[in-house]
Each structure stands twice: as C-alpha cells, then as structure tokens.
C-alpha cells in the first residue's frame, strides 16, 4: 500500500477567517460600494431612458401645440368700394367659387390690405386669406354692398414671428402690428379639416388622416380574418409535418423582415405586376396587411394556446364536431387576446412609413381621398413630407401632425391594455 500524497491544504495550519479584522471590513465595504454602484447604474439606465422619452414628448408637444393655433389680423374690407363685377344674387350654388375667383376677389383683398397696412400690406396675409373672405360672401352675399371687418390668417413668416421664432425683420413688423392691436391668436380649425398645401398656413391634417383611415380599413379587413384563420389552423388542425414547419418558419420570419422589404414587394407585385393604382390606400392597405398578418397570427396562436384543453374535451364529449368546438368555444374565449394582438399590430401599421414610400404614397395630394383607389397619403408619410420642407412654418405643423399621430397610437394602445385587463382570464 503506497502512501497517498497528502493534499497541501491538509498540511497548512488552519487559520480561521477573522471576520472582524480591518482587512475584512475594508473588503466588505468595497463590495457593498460596488453593489450600490451597480444598483445606481441600473437606476440611471432606466431613468435616462425615461428622461429621453420625456424630452422627446415635451419637445414635440412644445413645438406642436403652436401648430394648432394661427395668428390672425383684423382687416376692414370695403367690398362695395372694391366694386367686384358680380351680382350678390349670383353667388349661389356650385358656380359661386368660380364666379368669385374670376371677379378678382383676391386682388380686392390685397388692395384692402395695402390701403390699411402700407406698401407691404398684401404680403402680411396668408395666400389662403381671400378664401375666408370668399366663404363669408358665400354665406351672406349681402355683405358685398358694405364694409366688413374680417379676421384673416397672416402669412407664414409673420405667423412664426408672432409665436416668437421668426426672423428679426418679421419680429419687428409683428411688434408694430401688435402695438396697433390688430393681431390676435386663435385655434386653427382648418388644420384639422384641410389637406396638404404648399403654404404652411393653409395645410391641414384631415387628408392624411383620412388616407390613414382608409388604408387601415383595408389592412384590418384582410389581416384580421386571414391572421385569425391561420392561427386557428396552426393551433387546432395542423398535422406535424414539413408543410406545417414551413408555414411556421415563414410566419416567424415575416414578423422579423424589415418593413421596407414589404414596400419592395408591394412595388414589384401590386404595382408592376397587377397594375394597381399608385399611391392608393388600397395598395398601401394590402402591403401593410402582409406586414401585420404575422403579428396577428403569433398573438392569435398564443391566445388560442392559453385556452385550456378541458374546454375542448368537454365540448367534444357532448358531441360537438371539431369545427363547432373551435368556433363556438375556443375562438370566443381566445378573442380578447387576439384582439389585443390585432390592435398592437394595427398600431404598428399606423405608424409605418417606409413601405408606403415605396408604393408612391409620398406624392403631394391637396385633396382628401374619396375612395380606396384615389391617390392619397397617410399620417406618418405626411409628417415625413412636411419635415422635408424648408419653410420654417412647417416645423410646428410637423410637430402638430406628430401629436395627432401619437394621440391615435396612444388611444389604440390604451384600448389594447384595457381589453387585456378587462377580459384576460387566468385559467
């Protein structure tokens, strides 16, 4: 029997750790300090992320809130003296717009401004100012015979200056006008009801919002039924074979494909192969539906998976067929989860820009779309287009449009959270 080599530890003299020695205390202090540092680091990361979010939102709101207001100037116009070659009786019906434009109303308004505010008076007014006069005349043709004091929107440089962001020249003019007491600020209702325009004082968000609405309708009408049916098939029917694997792999990959690739698909297939109209909500909706469908399928599968098998077994046991089990029991129970996923997917589609640029939804569209095949734009693309404008007046309009978009998204996400909390069942 050979002698076992002894372990060095066994031979070393046993020295118990002196926990309250100064060295140990120091070590412990260091470790605790490291712990506190680490914890602070984590807190700082969360706080900085939140601070960034707050900064972004505050910047957008601070700039955007001005986009909802307009600066107006009071201007008396003696319409009788302007002597427009038009009879008050003729200002009626559809031809009124044409008749008033042809009668030189725009020049009459400019002349009135020049008489009241001096040589550059006409430049003070927004290019759309005379339209307000036109609408007033249409509402009451009798004013063609009197002097009326109008409140008209001022041109963009002075509008920006009145809000404190303008050039020194414009600021001076505004200060002078303010001293005269003719300037006032009010809500710009036209911003909510008009479409795109070339002049920042005349732009509105409604055209883009309606385009978004139509696009989302197409997306929802396609992506929701297809997504739900596909989720039902994959969870309830699909046999374990290569086809099912292929379907699953393609759905998971589609959910991660960059959105711009869907734009390329839409361009190559919907526009160039099928010849569908460019810039139309129909094509935008189709493209976004392909993008949203995987999101709905994945959310739907999770919701269906969460329905306990006992429900299915019970229904089958009383003689229901597979289809009856699925459509009478599984689907209604899974619906809140599916709806939550659908709303989140739709919110993502609503904020999507890149694929829509590819299919031509970046055109300048000055009228809200009237149908699914009319050229139109959508909210995020409108934001992108306005952000590209050089005119300073567009900065606040861009931020205002962002506020509108964020309000929509917030509402949708809020609805999703509400649905989740209200109908979520824990089995």
């Amino acid at each position: 029997m050979s002698k076992r080599p002894s372990l060095p530890v066994a031979d070393a003299p046993v020295r118990p750790t002196v926990w309250d020695s100064p060295a140990m205390a120091r070590r412990l202090r260091r470790r605790y300090a490291a712990e506190r540092r680490f914890r602070l680091l984590g807190l700082a990361a969360v706080a900085l992320s939140a601070a960034f979010l707050a900064f972004l939102l505050v910047t957008m709101v601070a700039q955007g809130i001005r986009g909802f207001t307009e600066t107006t100037i009071t201007l008396p116009i003696d319409l009788a003296a302007a002597d427009l070659p038009i009879e008050p009786a003729r200002v009626k019906g559809r031809s009124a717009d044409l008749a008033l434009a042809g009668a030189g109303l725009e020049d009459a308004v400019d002349t009135a401004a020049t008489m009241r505010f001096g040589r550059d008076g006409a430049d003070l007014l927004s290019p759309g100012a005379w339209l307000a006069v036109r609408d007033a005349i249409k509402a009451d043709p009798a004013i063609l015979r009197r002097t009326v004091t109008f409140t008209l929107p001022v041109a963009s440089p002075f509008d920006v200056a009145a809000k404190g962001e303008g050039t020194p020249d414009a600021e001076q003019v505004v200060a002078r006008l303010k001293a005269q007491g003719v300037l006032s600020t009010g809500w710009n209702w036209n911003f909510l009801t008009d479409a795109d325009a070339t002049d920042p004082t005349r732009v509105g968000i409604w055209g883009a919002a309606k385009g978004s609405l139509l696009t989302m309708l197409v997306t929802l009408a396609l992506a929701f039924p297809i997504g739900v049916l596909a989720a039902l098939y994959l969870e309830e029917y699909a046999p374990k074979n290569r086809w099912t694997d292929l379907i699953e792999v393609s759905i998971n990959n589609l959910a991660a494909v960059p959105s711009i690739i869907f734009g390329l698909l839409g361009l190559a297939v919907f526009l160039n192969t099928f010849g569908l109209p460019r810039s139309a909500p129909l094509v935008g909706g189709l493209t976004l539906a392909l993008m949203t469908m995987p999101v709905i399928v994945i959310a739907g599968r999770n919701a269906i998976k969460a329905v306990p098998p006992s429900i299915r077994d019970a229904a089958l046991a009383v003689g229901a067929s597979r289809v009856q089990v699925i459509f009478h029991h599984v689907l209604p129970l899974a619906l809140p989860g599916i709806l939550t996923g659908t709303i989140i997917g739709m919110a993502r589609a609503l904020g999507e820009t890149a694929p829509l640029l590819m299919i031509g939804m970046r055109a300048f569209i000055a009228a809200p779309p009237r149908g699914l095949t009319d050229p139109s734009t959508v909210l995020p693309v409108q934001i992108f287009l306005w952000s590209d404008q050089v005119d300073r007046g567009f900065i606040e309009k861009t931020s205002a449009a962002i506020i509108v978009l964020l309000v929509f998204l917030l509402a949708m996400n809020g609805l999703a959270i509400y649905l989740r909390n209200r109908f979520e069942t824990r089995w």
Partner: protein, 458 residues
C-alpha cells in the same frame, strides 16, 4: 357597376337558398325528431354554398377576360374597319371610345371614337347579358343539385366542415405565398440588375454614386461596400453601443432591484418607447439630436463635422432599440433557474456579484440571441436614417462624418423620377435582396441560439 349588381344578385340567391333548404331540413326534423345527421343550418349553408360559389368563381374569371372579349366584338363591327393599324393611336381611340361608352368622358379627341362608342355600348350590353345568364344558370344548377341532396341522412355538416378546413389551410398558406412573393420578386429584379452589373462589382466595389452612371460600365459607380459599412457602422456599432448597456442595465434593474410598484410604472414607459413610430424618431434625430451632435463636435475641435452625422442617427436608433434589448434580456434572465441565484446568494455573494458572475453568464446565449435580433432590426430600420443620415456614401469610421445605409439608398433610388428598368432602380432591389438575406440569416441564427439556450434549462 354591373359587376356589383351581379354580386348582390348572387348573394341574394345564396340567402334564399339558405333559407329554403333550412326550412326543408327543419321539416325533416319535425317529422323524424332529432334523428337527422346534420343541423338544419348546415343544410342551409351547404345549399347556399353550392348556389353562390360557382357563379362567384365565374364572375372572378369573367372580370379578367370580358374586356378583351368586348374589344374583339367591337373590332368585328364595320365601323372598326377605319381604325388605323395597331399602335399607339389605335389604342388611344379605343380607350377613348370605351370611356365615352361608359359615360366617363363627355368629349372626344378623335372623331372615330364617337362612331365606335355605340359599338362599345352594344358589345358591353351583350357581354353583360351573357354574364347575367351564365350567373343565373350556374346558381340555379348548383342550387338545385344541392337542394335535391338535402335528406335526413345526408351529412351536410361534414361537407361544410371540409370547406371550412380548406379555408383555414388557405389562410395559413398566405404566409408562405408572401414569403415566396418576396423572394421571387427580389430575386427576379435583382437578377435583371446582375445581368447588367456584375455581381462582384456590386458586392466588392467601393465606389457608390448612382446619380452618375456610366452606361458603358454601370458597375463602376454601383459598388455597395460603403453602404454595407455604413449600415453596419450605424446599426451594429453606434446603435448597439447605446442599446446594449442601457437595455441590459434596465432589464437587470427592473427585474432584480426595482420594487414591484416601480416596475409596474417603468415597464410600460419602456414599452411606450418601443411604440413611437420611427418617423417621429427620425424627425427628432434630424431636428434636435443632429444639430446638438454637430455643435458638440465643433466644440471639441472637429469643425468639419457633418450635420447629417452617423452618430446622430445611430444614437437615436439605439434609443429606439433599448426596449427591444431590454425585453429580450428580461426573458433570458427569467429563464435562469432560481436555484442558481439562490445558491449564489446563500454563499454570501452580493446581488450585483450574483448577477454579473452567475446569472449573466448563464443567460448569455439568450442575451446574445436577443442582441442579434436587435441588430437585425437596426439594420432594417429606414426612417431614422432617411431623415437623419446622409445620402452620400463615404467609407469612414468617424462617427461625426456623414455615412449612408442600405435602406436609405433604397428609398433614394426608388423615389427618383427614373424609369423602372434602369440599373439605378433595379439596384434598389439588389440592395433589398442583400438586406433580406442578411436579416434572415441573423434571425435564424438568433432564434436557434435562443431556442437551444431555453432547452438547456428546461
């Protein structure tokens, strides 16, 4: 207009068929008790389907073929003998005549189109009559056939459920169709591009200036290496330098340290960060961050710094990715067995030592997989770089210089006025194909890593 009328007619017939056969099935039930094999509404649906589906199918085919048929009939009329030979003018006259006949136009440029318009009207009317007759015939034939099969022992339920199963299968095949559509369209257009520009020039060339393409050697100005580098630099280096530390530390703090109440508030805040549209981030990057970055660069002595720097786009993109990294890290940390953490804490390790020396190494594969997914998302991100990065391709590693990315170039190439077949627009599809392949590979690798990691702890 006529199509819609026919559609309503078909749906109406279907409804009638449904109601009538349901009544018949109800009659069986009354006579025989409950001993019929399908519910009355199954019979109803069965007959309605037979009534409506064949005409609908016919209508779909008819919609695609009937315009050609109408044109053929018009060309057969005597008035068409005066038409000029096939060409642009002939097509113009025909389309004008068609517009006149449909009431879409009032005046006509060509006199001949006026004489042809009545012919169009007549042909269209005849075609419409044929369509209506066929639809009615198909609906009646299908409906009668199905109605005669409605018997007590006829299992309508099985047939209906077979149709529903087909519908479900069809819906899930759309996903495969979409993938196939993406791959096919990208491959086809990129193939056309590579028949003009050698693939080696595209993949390894270092000069990118699609604005001036030499028609004799288009490959010389379509080398994509600067784009690949710019994409990698902004998406995988700068953005990740922000997203990884912030995302990881937030996840650690929220899951390991924060009180439940703080977590309930802070988690949604991070999720809001993920829900903000990219166009908003892009605007913020261009309007606020880019000037600040430039100012900072000038203040430290780099006065040539670009106002479209890679840093501005990358920083904002990093912030956008934080919630994504955070939620992936969150999942990976949650998958580490509690026993490991408890063991480490029981040995006297502080929580931070437990996290950095035990939990993070154990969760590393999951975290790496999450980071790969985040990179794939960052390099596919478009709007931030379109709005905040530059359009000029430079091969530089200086974060204050301007760099461009693949996605930015796709947008630039396809929103110009160029015709669709030029190498310039086709190059966008080649770039798209490259982007698709790279993100696909990243996703597959990431998902495999994550999956294997999950399995190792289950």
């Amino acid at each position: 207009m006529n199509g819609i009328v026919l559609l309503i007619l078909i749906v109406g017939l279907g409804l009638i068929a449904w109601a009538v056969s349901r009544m018949r099935a109800l009659g069986f039930r009354r006579r025989l008790g409950t001993r019929i094999s399908s519910l009355p509404h199954h019979h109803g649906w069965y007959v309605a389907l037979w009534t409506a589906a064949p005409p609908l199918l016919f209508l779909a085919i008819w919609a695609a073929t009937s315009p050609a048929l109408v044109t053929d009939m018009v060309l057969g009329t005597p008035a068409a003998a005066q038409l000029p030979p096939p060409g642009f003018e002939r097509a113009a006259i025909l389309s004008e005549a068609r517009a006149l006949a449909a009431g879409r136009a009032h005046g006509a440029f060509h006199t001949l189109s006026r004489t042809l318009a009545p012919a169009y009207d007549a042909a269209q009317a005849r075609v419409d009559w044929i369509a209506t007759a066929v639809v009615l015939m198909l609906a009646l034939a299908g409906g009668t056939y199905a109605y005669l099969r409605v018997r007590p022992d006829f299992s309508a339920r099985t047939r209906i459920e077979r149709v529903i199963l087909g519908l479900l299968l069809g819906a899930s095949l759309i996903a495969i169709l979409t993938t196939a559509g993406i791959v096919a369209s990208l491959l086809y257009e990129a193939g056309r591009f590579f028949s003009v520009v050698p693939i080696t020039d595209f993949l390894f060339g270092t000069h990118w200036s699609p604005q001036v393409i030499d028609p004799r050697d288009p490959g010389a100005s379509l080398g994509a290496v600067p784009l690949f580098w710019g994409t990698f630099f902004i998406g995988a280096v700068i953005a990740m330098a922000v997203a990884i530390p912030f995302g990881l530390l937030s996840a650690i703090y929220l899951t390991q340290y924060a009180a439940p109440r703080a977590r309930r508030i802070m988690k949604p805040v991070l999720e809001v960060l993920a829900g903000i549209p990219t166009v908003v981030y892009g605007y913020f990057a261009a309007l606020t961050v880019a000037p600040a970055v430039r100012q900072f660069a000038v203040s430290i002595g780099i006065d040539w710094a670009s106002s479209e720097s890679a840093l501005a786009a990358g920083l904002v993109m990093g912030v956008m990715i934080i919630p994504f990294v955070s939620s992936m890290a969150d999942d990976s940390l949650a998958a580490v067995p509690n026993a490991m953490r408890d063991g480490s804490l029981a040995m006297g390790a502080t929580p931070s030592e437990t996290i950095t020396r035990v939990m993070l190494p154990a969760a590393l594969p999951g975290v790496v997989g999450g980071v790969l997914l985040a990179v794939s998302r960052a390099i596919g991100e478009t709007m931030i770089v379109v709005m905040a990065a530059s359009g000029v391709a430079t091969l530089t590693a200086n974060p204050f210089a301007s760099t461009t990315t693949v996605t930015r170039q796709i947008v630039d190439l396809l929103t110009g006025e160029a015709e669709f077949d030029s190498p310039k627009t086709l190059a966008a599809f080649a770039l798209g194909l490259t982007l698709f392949v790279i993100t696909l590979l990243l996703n597959i690798i990431a998902l495999t890593v994550v999956k294997r990691y999950r399995e190792s702890y289950e």
